[in-house]
């Protein structure tokens, strides 16, 4: 009985992990800035949203993503709504990829990811720089996109393990 309860708890905890990661990241702006390494930052949230909305969208709702975007904007101090818009565009792209893909392959996902990150960063820069007249460093965005692209395989592996655990528990 105890093991059954434990299993149920673990199952629901694992299924909530993507959302927990998402909200923890937006509240903390997960970019390794405290390591004080020059030219090193990556956007963990982009990786998280891209992977889960592409591979298993049931565990990361669009509404949570929208709310996470609002929180992210307030925390980093940019006009409210920009991150939500960008995150939802990632969801739109992943949803489209899901519609047109029969058998998902890692390399295709990875290449789609860099295109998505560059597109989303460009949209963000256009909104901030041209509409709201915020001065932004294009090089920082480019470097961030590069590291985010490089880190995707690592998080892909970790999230894949988590995803298979969730699916396993679900099918138990």
């Amino acid at each position: 009985m105890a093991s059954l309860n434990k299993s149920t708890f673990l199952k629901s905890f694992l299924s909530y992990l993507p959302i927990i990661f998402l909200f923890f990241s937006v509240f903390n702006e997960f970019d390794f800035n405290y390591l004080k390494l020059d030219y090193f930052s990556f956007n963990f949230i982009f990786i998280l949203i891209f992977f889960w909305t592409l591979r298993n969208p049931d565990y990361l709702g669009y509404l949570s993503i929208f709310l996470a975007g609002i929180i992210n904007d307030v925390v980093i101090g940019v006009p409210i709504g920009i991150s939500s818009f960008c995150y939802l565009l990632i969801c739109a792209i992943t949803s489209y990829i899901r519609q047109i893909t029969l058998s998902p392959k890692f390399i295709n996902d990875w290449l789609s990811f860099i295109v998505t990150v560059l597109l989303i960063n460009s949209i963000q820069v256009i909104i901030l720089d041209l509409i709201f007249l915020y001065q932004v460093d294009y090089m920082d965005y480019l470097i961030n996109a590069g590291f985010t692209f490089l880190f995707y395989p690592l998080f892909f592996l970790l999230f894949n393990i988590l995803n298979s655990q969730i699916s396993l528990k679900k099918n138990d």
Binding site: F27, D58, G61, V75, I76, G77, S84, L88, L89
Partner: protein, 281 residues
């Protein structure tokens, strides 16, 4: 060709309009909602301002609580670094202590002389200080700002200076009821009028988004005349927000980069200061 276009339209329609079992909202409705939020968040209606203040209050407090583990890691890294640099820091401090008495005496004389000269031209500088704790130290690669635990209920106003000891670190850009946000001098959008001493030239200190600032809009001969090893950058007082003479940073080795006196990554408590220039005697 027509079939291909049909497939594309069907895929797009499914992407934006179709809801999965566990999704409560379609993607297109949330995208439209986020566009509405972007537009409304930049309108200055009272109701929108109140809603924004409410959201800011809740999120800043929540972010402060959830940042506790991250702050602990930062503290540990800082502790380790200070242990490693202990000997070097000690040597530097010894040199400073040797000269301290001499500097204090000279400083007292200059302060008194400065006060007397200001009285002669009927000018006075008063300041009101509010001590604040840093709630969120969000030095993201794109925005350098801090959130403080004092807001409009403590008479904090937009434009007030943020000081770390006697050094300028930024200014208030957003005020909520119980907290406020300050833009650091290192942010790309930060520009303050300064004086470069020597050779006493007016300039603008701009943030770069990195840990240092740069000098802009000054005389061309500034770079040619940089013969001194250590050039100090002070606020010039132009613009009326800051009093003249607040130390900002130093320019080392003709680099043109301002090394700020204060370490913006280690701010825990700061002073929010309002300068009243020329109001009372």
């Amino acid at each position: 060709m027509v079939k291909g276009r049909d497939d594309f339209v069907i895929a797009l329609r499914s992407t934006f309009f179709k809801k999965k079992e566990k999704q409560k909202f379609s993607l297109i409705s949330l995208i439209i909602l986020s566009i509405i939020v972007i537009i409304f968040s930049n309108l200055n209606f009272k109701l929108i301002q109140i809603v924004k203040l409410g959201i800011n209050e809740v999120i800043y407090r929540s972010s402060y609580i959830s940042s506790v583990p991250e702050n602990k890691i930062k503290e540990i890294i800082f502790e380790i670094k200070s242990h490693i640099d202990l000997h070097e820091i000690h040597q530097k401090e010894l040199i400073k202590i040797e000269n301290t008495e001499e500097i204090i005496a000279l400083n007292n004389f200059l302060t008194a002389e400065n006060k007397k000269l200001r009285e002669l031209i009927d000018e006075s500088i008063n300041s009101e200080e509010i001590f604040a704790r840093v709630l969120i130290d969000r030095e993201s690669p794109f925005l350098k700002s801090i959130v403080l635990n004092k807001g409009s209920k403590d008479n904090v106003k937009i434009g007030m200076a943020i000081m770390d000891r006697n050094y300028l670190v930024g200014q208030i850009i957003e005020v909520n009821y119980s907290n406020s946000r300050a833009l650091l001098l290192s942010d790309l959008n930060s520009k303050i009028p300064v004086i470069i001493q020597p050779p006493f030239l007016q300039a603008v200190a701009s943030g770069t988004g990195k840990d240092y600032g740069v000098i802009e809009y000054t005389k061309d001969e500034y770079e040619e005349n940089q013969i001194e090893n250590k050039v100090i950058v002070y606020t010039s007082g132009l613009g009326g927000l800051f009093k003249p003479g607040i130390p900002v940073g130093k320019i080392l080795n003709n680099s043109g980069q301002i090394e700020f006196f204060s370490d913006f990554g280690q701010l825990s408590f700061v002073k929010i200061t309002e300068f009243k220039i020329g109001e009372d005697k």
